[in-house]
């Protein structure tokens, strides 16, 4: 597996943006702290006082029943939804709007796959904010796109239209776009839904690799059996934080039962 480590050190990159992951001296620089996050859609409260705190180098699972607020949380973190109360601190500073270091990967059902765009074209979108007023690609931008495609093993598919990809390839295309964006935090909405067994395993390894490089992965996930295989930490969510911690500590049968209401529902 070609790792994307080099992406963190592009020739003209920002050395101060490098994530070092667990064990680094300056942890506070790479922490994501969510405190008392409350989000409502009109009268309906979707999230209430959600707290958790994690850092680069981790894979965090968002677990909870339908309507628990998993997508809402992801969308709030990336600045699409405005919280009613609470704060989101990224590297010590409050996030008030979209931040380029946080990338959101939509659920596959939300994407218009018939859009006339190739894999490369989609990955290039990650560079748009860097392109200046005329939106013209420089050598530097092309190099970053090339590296992102290589890291996700998409070079041979670069000219394919996105509907002519398998589910796993589609996920990797969106991951490559996040890499081209030079994101540190990858927020994924149900990334494993609809993938076959080999594709699921490949994506699992890929996410582990990205975390090992020092990125923070937060993904909503519904397959409880695979949680320990992929993730380091779990956030059990049901409008409020039911539990948060390492998989070993927080992912207990009692906590799962509390999240899903009844023990019977805990089995997917």
């Amino acid at each position: 597996m070609t790792t994307a480590t080099t992406l963190d050190n592009p020739p003209h990159g920002h050395p101060d943006h490098v994530c070092w992951g667990g064990g680094a001296a300056n942890h506070t620089q790479h922490r994501l702290d969510v405190r008392g996050l409350t989000v409502s859609y009109r009268e309906v409260r979707a999230l209430e006082g959600v707290d958790f705190s994690t850092e680069c180098g981790r894979c965090v699972a968002l677990i909870g029943p339908n309507g628990a607020g998993k997508s809402t949380l992801l969308k709030s973190l990336v600045g699409i939804l405005t919280p009613e109360a609470g704060t989101i601190l990224w590297r010590g500073a409050a996030l008030t709007s979209a931040h380029r270091e946080l990338a959101y990967l939509p659920q596959r059902g939300e994407v218009d796959w018939q859009f006339p765009i190739t894999v490369r074209g989609l990955v290039e979108m990650g560079r748009y904010p860097n392109l200046g007023w005329w939106r013209s690609f420089q050598k530097h931008d092309r190099e970053i796109v090339d590296r992102a495609l290589a890291a996700m093993q998409l070079e041979d598919l670069a000219d394919r239209q996105i509907s002519a990809l398998s589910g796993g390839q589609q996920q990797r295309t969106f991951l490559a776009r996040a890499l081209a964006q030079e994101a540190h935090v990858l927020l994924l909405d149900e990334p494993f839904t609809g993938l076959d067994q080999p594709a699921e395993e490949a994506l699992r390894r890929l996410l582990r690799d990205l975390a090992a490089e020092g990125r923070l992965i937060i993904a909503s996930h519904h397959d409880l059996e695979t949680v320990p295989l992929i993730f380091d930490e779990v956030l059990l969510l049901r409008r409020r934080t039911i539990g948060f911690g390492t998989v070993q500590d927080a992912f207990t049968p009692e906590a799962i039962a509390a999240t899903y209401g009844t023990p019977a529902l805990a089995q997917p």
Binding site: A98, Y104, P106, P116, I117, R177, P198
Partner: protein, 294 residues
């Protein structure tokens, strides 16, 4: 020799040359924009806008304003009304559009019928490019040039907005501004196209070239050019041909567009109906030898 001579007859008339050139220009601009409109899913909104500008044109004609100004005003008003009703009610978008654009269109018809001295009803509803006045001509050219320049500069942002507004927002692009920009360009283009084909057929100019181009290519950049070319070509040829059919420029242009779309729909190399059928048959013919995908 005789046939060629007959074919070139329209070029002897200044008004025909002018009509053909202006129609072609309008066709190019509408085609360009249609790439965005069809992919954003705003085809119906284009229809709504083209009807909503009618009272503006009628009023502007009465007051001696530039027609574009009046059209633009009611176009924006209608868009605002639609947004307001949608947010403040439980109604679905298509119902809201249906109500708002017919209301505006009805108001326009009423204004026209109550003021015999104002703008000609036929001109608004069916267009009249053959008799376009100099002032209107200038407006069309200004709208066309501005729209082409803006699209030329900002097509990437608008493409990302059409593909994935959420992503555009997470990348820090001003999504609200882009939304407004696309609406403004659409309203302006509707005003220009009104002169060529009339309010009823404007939507065809804003949808058909883009739809045909979408079936012809898998790259957005290429799709824009193909749509602009199809729009411009059909408008040029349609306006020219209208000389031989005596009138009905809009009808000629849009019928030609429809013919082109029909051909593309059937014979597009990859996304045409026949190509899809061939592919489906090939797949079932070779048993379960489906593409291996990982």
């Amino acid at each position: 020799m005789g046939m060629w001579h007959d074919l070139l007859v329209p070029l002897q008339y200044d008004y025909m040359v002018r009509a053909v050139v202006v129609s072609g220009l309008i066709g190019v601009v509408c085609g360009f924009l249609s790439a965005f409109v069809t992919l954003k899913g705003w085809s119906l909104l284009g229809d709504a806008l083209s009807h909503a500008v009618v009272p503006g044109v009628a009023l502007a004609g009465l007051l001696g304003w530039p027609l574009a100004a009046g059209a633009f005003l009611t176009g924006v008003l209608a868009t605002g009304a639609m947004a307001l009703i949608k947010v403040k009610s439980r109604l679905r978008e298509d119902a809201v559009m249906g109500i708002v654009f017919t209301t505006f269109f009805a108001a326009g018809l009423l204004i026209i019928s109550l003021t015999p001295g104002g703008v000609d009803r036929k001109t608004i509803i069916f267009g009249n490019i053959l008799a376009i006045a100099d002032r209107e001509l200038l407006q069309v050219v200004v709208i066309a040039v501005v729209t082409l320049v803006v699209l030329g500069c900002k097509w990437r942002d608008l493409m990302l907005f059409c593909f994935d507004a959420t992503q555009a927002r997470t990348l820090g692009l001003p999504v609200v501004v882009l939304h407004g920009l696309l609406l403004v360009l659409m309203s302006a283009t509707v005003v220009a196209a009104l002169q060529a084909v009339g309010a009823v057929l404007v939507v065809a100019m804003l949808v058909t070239p883009g739809a045909a181009a979408h079936l012809l290519t898998d790259r957005f950049g290429r799709m824009m050019w193909v749509a602009a070319g199809l729009g411009g070509g059909c408008a040029l040829v349609g306006a020219y041909a209208s000389y031989f059919f005596d009138g009905a420029t809009g009808g000629c242009i849009v019928t030609l567009q429809a013919l082109v779309f029909g051909v593309v729909f059937l014979w597009a190399p990859r996304h045409g109906w026949l190509a899809e059928r061939r592919r489906a048959r090939g797949r079932s013919g070779s048993g379960k030898a489906q593409e291996v995908r990982l």
